[in-house]
């Protein structure tokens, strides 16, 4: 039982990371109907910005304040990166076919991965510990302060995002754009601005995930975005792409099932089962767990 609970904690902290990244996929899909394949790489850039910022900012001792600063810097940098990607790569081809957009996204992804290997170097780097650490042991289940931080920060950001989408004017505009891009423009919503904001928000969340994974693992490398991006994409589809609560649910499900498979079966089945779940969901409930059925307009 202790082992099971410990695995549940491990799964929750891994799942929160997937959920944070999945949110970016789902938001962009919501407004543009685009799978932003470069999203996993934005997450990688976030981890690296966090790494360099923490080496500059961190004094002799890890402190909570510097940890918060590091996270904000990474989020800001990636928000800008997200806007740039949208402006330079996606906007010029937005009116083209969906396939053109998709291929552009794959191109951007490859560009960031290889630029990352050039700029950051291909060798893995190791995150210094940012926040002061403490472990809590409850009934034999050990929870590290990093795991608590990961879960708490993820949920805080997800709640803030939900509040932003439901309660603010910009959030309302985002929902309108996701409902119908053309109708929103006719209603006087600056759709370019809203799409930019969506990319900025999604990328900032990915950056937060990057810093959190850096604190927890603590190894980062320029290709780290590929496996995490792929799993988060599966999570977004599983939860219902376009649905924000769905992305969170999907992320947690994938994280927990992965850990359980590795723990109780074998690590070799890990990805097979994650993607097996995806195939099952697509067969039985193609709109995802929390997604809405959409009629294809002809």
């Amino acid at each position: 039982m202790t082992t099971f609970l410990q695995q549940l904690v491990n799964g929750l902290s891994l799942g929160s990371i997937y959920a944070l990244i999945a949110l970016g996929y789902t938001m962009v899909y919501g407004v543009l109907r685009l799978i932003n394949f470069a999203h996993g790489d934005v997450y990688m850039v976030g981890a690296y910005v966090g790494y360099y910022a923490s080496r500059k900012l961190r004094g002799d001792q890890p402190s909570l304040l510097s940890a918060i600063f590091v996270m904000l810097i990474a989020m800001l940098a990636c928000a800008i990166l997200g806007i740039l990607i949208e402006r330079l790569a996606y906007r010029p081809v937005r009116r083209e076919s969906r396939l053109t957009l998709l291929i552009t996204a794959i191109g951007v992804s490859l560009l960031i991965e290889n630029a990352g290997q050039l700029i950051f170097g291909p060798d893995p780097k190791f995150f210094p510990s940012l926040a002061p650490r403490a472990d809590f042991v409850l009934e034999g289940v050990r929870v590290t302060s990093e795991q608590i931080t990961v879960i708490a920060v993820s949920f805080l950001l997800m709640i803030l995002l939900r509040f932003f989408i439901l309660k603010t004017r910009t959030g309302k505009a985002m929902r309108a754009v996701s409902f119908s891009l053309d109708a929103s423009r006719l209603m006087g919503i600056s759709t370019d601005k809203i799409i930019g904001i969506t990319f900025a928000l999604g990328s900032a969340l990915a950056a937060a995930a990057g810093v959190l994974i850096g604190m927890q693992i603590p190894k980062i490398d320029p290709l780290m975005g590929i496996p995490y991006g792929l799993k988060a994409f599966v999570a977004a589809v599983l939860g219902g792409i376009g649905s924000v609560p769905g992305a969170v649910l999907g992320g947690l499900l994938i994280g927990i099932s992965e850990v359980m498979v590795v723990g109780y079966l074998s690590s070799t089945y890990r990805d097979a089962i994650a993607f097996g779940i995806l195939i099952l969901v697509l067969l039985l409930r193609p709109q995802g767990l929390l997604g809405r059925v959409q009629k294809e307009k002809v």
Partner: protein, 383 residues
Amino acid sequence: MRTRLFAVLALVAAAAATLSCGERGSGKEILVGEYGSLTGGIATFGISTKNASELAFDEINKKGGVLGKQIKLLVEDDQSKPEEAGTAVTKLINQDHVVAMLGHVASSHSLAAAPICQSNKVPMITPSSTNPRVTQVGDYIFRVCFTDTFTGEVVAKFVADTLKAKKVAILVDVRSDYSVGLQTFFGEAFKRRGGEIVANQSYSQGDSDFRAQLTQIKATNPEAIYVPGYYTEVGTIVHQGRELGITVPFVGSDGWDSPKLWEIGGDALNGCYFSNHYSTDDPNPAVQKFVNDYKTKYGQTPDALAALAYDAARILADSFTRAGSTDGDKVRKAIGATKDFPGVTGSITINAERNAVKPAVILKIENGKYLLVETITPEAVKQ
């Protein structure tokens, strides 16, 4: 018109043939190829190996080279990907026309490249691939290190006799031939010594979260955990293991030996052990000279991979001299006849299976230093 075109083509072909002949035959240099991982997850292995081979050839060239020629080393990077090793070796053989090949550290990479060297009749010496299957590829493939069969015996003896552990858990990298081989050899040897393997968990190279496996291992209360992996993952594994409250020693093998291991794992590694090919503490003057020369040139303490690469390069040069030629078949026979070569990793004799026979050491990690615990000879593991 037609005939003129043919004439031109014939001329071009002739010119190309002369050029390539010129590259292969004459010249004052002997071209030796080396393929290794200079970037990626096991980059320090490739860099140490390259540095040490260059050091060895520089020394030899300064003394006048071999057969009146200078040795020139051409190095290709495989980005830590086994599938790229084949490409690198093919390029070295077909484009650069090297006469012999050095490499690789990782057995998966050597196994990818060895068949290519064998079929092209280019002798290959791997300095540090320990999986027994590597030299079984064919009679052109040699190694100057001991095999994983021996390492498994050595670690089993150490864990059973010195650590006095009866229950051991194993965490294996299923994507690495080296790791899977060691898991089997250690498991067999440890059971023969009356020990029990209480957990057998796995991961894949490139993974970064090992908490699920470690949680499962912790539940079985082992007295030691054997992780026959490479340093990048090992550092992360030990770090995460300590976070989960695992206090027993992690034990590893030569894949741990890297200056980066301590950078990754830090304090978590204190009190862990690993088996290796040599110790920098060895008082032998040849070892101390090598350690000093390497430090002066590269500003780093040479790891075992550097020491083995140094020996491999010198044995190759020695074999050129003894063969009196760079012809593949003659060089191959000369390498196979190596006997009691005074290497920095011990006295090296190549046996009939083209493997080196020599002792191993067990090192303990203390604050970033590797302290010599004991030396285990091939005779000692035979009960």
